[in-house]
Subunit: 446 residues, 2 copies
């Protein structure tokens, strides 16, 4: 690990009001000023009301590419930076802005590791619409995602990958800033998102990063243009920090795959690792997987990248690697071998189509809310009901008859069903004409 | 006094984050929302970081005329509202955004009272560039500006006017918001300025308000267009609160009158009340005075308004009224009769013109800083040196020979002179050509 070293400088500390006013009036911060802001955030010197006003000024005035890069680096240097230089293999990380039904990480991580890549990925917390990979893997008895940094590095050395909880020792300045942003309407600031995400990801020790920026009703980024801007902001900062970086802007205007939940999604991930499962997930895994193996230098051409991804699924090595990782973290791999061992919900019922027609739109955020309501997200005590969720989701463009299931609802608690049903019903819009199918991968930013 | 009465309403309290995001995205607050924000500000319910983010969002997104009016009213209703309805005379107040060398209030208040108008004016704190009327009157031995609201009202009944310190019982929600704005770069928000100023002024019980909005290098409003906007915002809100309102936008690109200080300005005010003194101050007093007597209904036509103002100076009744007010507040009026009794500084020296030419510009803020440095503003212990300041200020457009005094500097403490001189020197720009004279009253907004 490299510890932050503050060199003494002839920098006269400005007042926080001065810094707020500078940004308010569209000024550009110097490296010293950003370092001072991050130091003050880390040690709690800057009062919260001044940090909040500064964040809102940044929301409105933005930050230049250089400011954003400096912000990211200073936030990264506010804590531990994992050093993996002693591992000879290519080290590539993957990040997604988060979506509904997104089980990509569960598939891509073992796949990349099977292809000879070390993936030093730490899993973030649940966001609004997202169930974290760790909560999904919690369905496997014995599995422990709570690794100390040393154990994380050891597992990377031995197995090549881990599903580990984000360490609070990485980019700790971000923790305070993020909590404040959550309360002050300043989450959607592109430079602040970039700094928050990349300061943590780049502290994890990778040489390259594949980013999945999702846009749509199931993402916190509702606007395609904003998603493209974020993709550009992130890859630019990643490059300026000497990391290879590629971003794909992808569709999140309906749930990904056929399931939303924990064990339900884990089952779908196992299917995908066997080369089965829903088409959209297969496509997304192929596209993101190709980026990972090319960024790692494991494959050169597009064709060889495609073959590399497909081979590690077809020969079962990716699935085998998932078992190896789960086993290394104490999990009972018999559940991976036989997914029918995962608990089933007491009740499974259909959501009937109210009329015939085509699925025109699905509000993915509403599906996520309904699924959370059924108990798929941690409750006040942190308990998760691994059996609940939805499956067999009819996707946009599917034709349905009246009464035909739009999806199957898995639930244990009758009392929660009614409200969840409201969300599910309202999530679907049917129309007489077939809509244009959504484009899954909208743009590639490198 | 009218106390705020909160009627119960079917209003579901929104989260503060929701309110911040609403304003961030350009939304318009309802009356209930603004009331909730002000109530929460008053009782300290809203955390400072959320209030700060909200203030910055308001800075960038503004507020509609209606929102600003509601904000002003709710802030006013957060405290005591002085009721002067039992006084039969017209009740007109005057407000200035503050400037350097501005001794208008010292002249206009007794003048208006002499004309049969009650002036329920409370004096604000010193601003950046301003010495408050109370600090100037502090040069009169015995004078006490610290009146309770009851005593304030009694003096208005008896004498017609008072120089009283702003009561903390008026618009207390503003006190917390203002202190927060000072620290978070949100002072220059027009709707927040309007709300802050008018909530206090309109709580003082007047039926009408004459506003002097100053623009220029000696005002906190540097931009003429912004000054005009503020004048419009204030008169609009005043009218919507059923007050007669007129605003003049006036020049503050050089000190007003010939003096800057405390006793020095008080002497100039006494001169002006005798119909003597510098032309720009005479003009400003005439223009503002005419607005006051017309708003009060004491004079109808422009001509009669002019005659009314001039008469109360010529017949000595305005000066007599100043003595009456000062006496009512415990001050030794022999100082008004004989201004030579005011303390003189130990040293008086000239600021020599570095070359011949015309005074092209004077940075009034720099003059103010130099004068404060000499001790004219309260020091850390609140002590004021009443003798110090500058006099015989050569104004913009004046021709000077090399070495001729640009002004006279009155000082007691040699050690402070050098730095003050730097300010004074740097405040003056001389040029070979005569500049266009500044326009004192730029616009009238009614």
């Amino acid at each position: 690990m490299i510890k932050k070293t503050l060199t003494s400088r002839r920098f006269v500390k400005p007042s926080y009001s001065y810094l707020i006013e500078k940004k308010r009036d569209g000024g550009e911060f110097t490296q010293e000023e950003i370092r001072y802001i991050i130091d003050s955030t880390l040690d709690g010197e800057i009062p919260e009301h001044q940090l909040a006003a500064l964040a809102m000024a940044i929301y409105f005035q933005g930050m230049s590419a250089q400011e954003t890069a400096i912000l990211t680096e200073e936030m990264m240097l506010s804590g531990e930076v994992v050093d993996l230089s002693h591992i000879a293999k290519p080290k590539i990380d993957k990040y997604s802005t988060g979506g509904v039904g997104d089980k990509t990480a569960l598939v891509l991580l073992p796949l990349a590791v099977a292809a000879g890549i070390v993936v030093p990925m730490m899993c973030g917390e649940d966001q609004d619409f997202e169930i974290s990979s760790l909560h999904k893997l919690g369905a496997v008895p014995g599995f422990n995602g709570d690794l100390e940094i040393d154990d994380f590095v050891k597992q990377l050395e031995k197995v090549g990958g881990a599903f580990a909880k984000q360490s609070p020792e990485l980019a700790p300045a971000d923790a305070r800033l993020y909590e404040l942003r959550r309360q002050t309407g300043t989450i959607p600031s592109l430079p602040l998102i970039t700094g928050s995400v990349l300061s943590k990801k780049l502290a994890e020790g990778s040489e390259g990063l594949v980013i999945d920026v999702k846009w749509g009703n199931g993402s916190f980024i509702k606007d395609l243009e904003q998603a493209k801007q974020l993709a550009r902001s992130m890859t630019r900062v990643g490059r300026s920090m000497k990391r290879r970086c590629v971003a794909l802007v992808t569709d999140m205007n309906q749930p990904l795959g056929d399931t939303v939940g924990t064990a339900l999604e884990l089952r779908e991930a196992i299917q995908l690792l066997k080369g089965e499962g829903p088409e959209d997930m297969q496509e997304l895994i192929l596209k993101l997987g190709m980026e990972i193996v090319r960024l790692a230098g494991v494959a050169g051409s597009t064709l060889s990248a495609k073959q590399t991804v497909e081979r590690h699924i077809q020969d079962g090595s990716a699935l085998e690697k998932l078992k190896e990782i789960v086993a290394a973290q104490g999990g009972d791999t018999s559940y991976i071998d036989d997914p029918s061992k995962f608990p089933e919900a007491k009740h499974i019922r259909k959501l009937p189509a109210p009329k015939r027609g085509y699925v025109h739109t699905i509000n993915a955020a509403m599906i996520a809310r309904g699924v959370h309501l059924l108990g798929a997200g941690p409750d006040a005590k942190g308990k998760i009901d691994y059996a609940v969720g939805v499956s067999e989701i009819k996707k946009v463009g599917t034709q349905v008859k009246q009464g035909e299931p739009l999806m199957m609802i898995h639930y244990n608690d009758e009392s929660k069903l009614e409200q969840a049903l409201e969300y599910f019903k309202n999530a679907y819009r049917l129309a007489p004409k077939r809509p244009n199918p959504p484009t899954l991968v909208v743009e590639r930013v490198a």
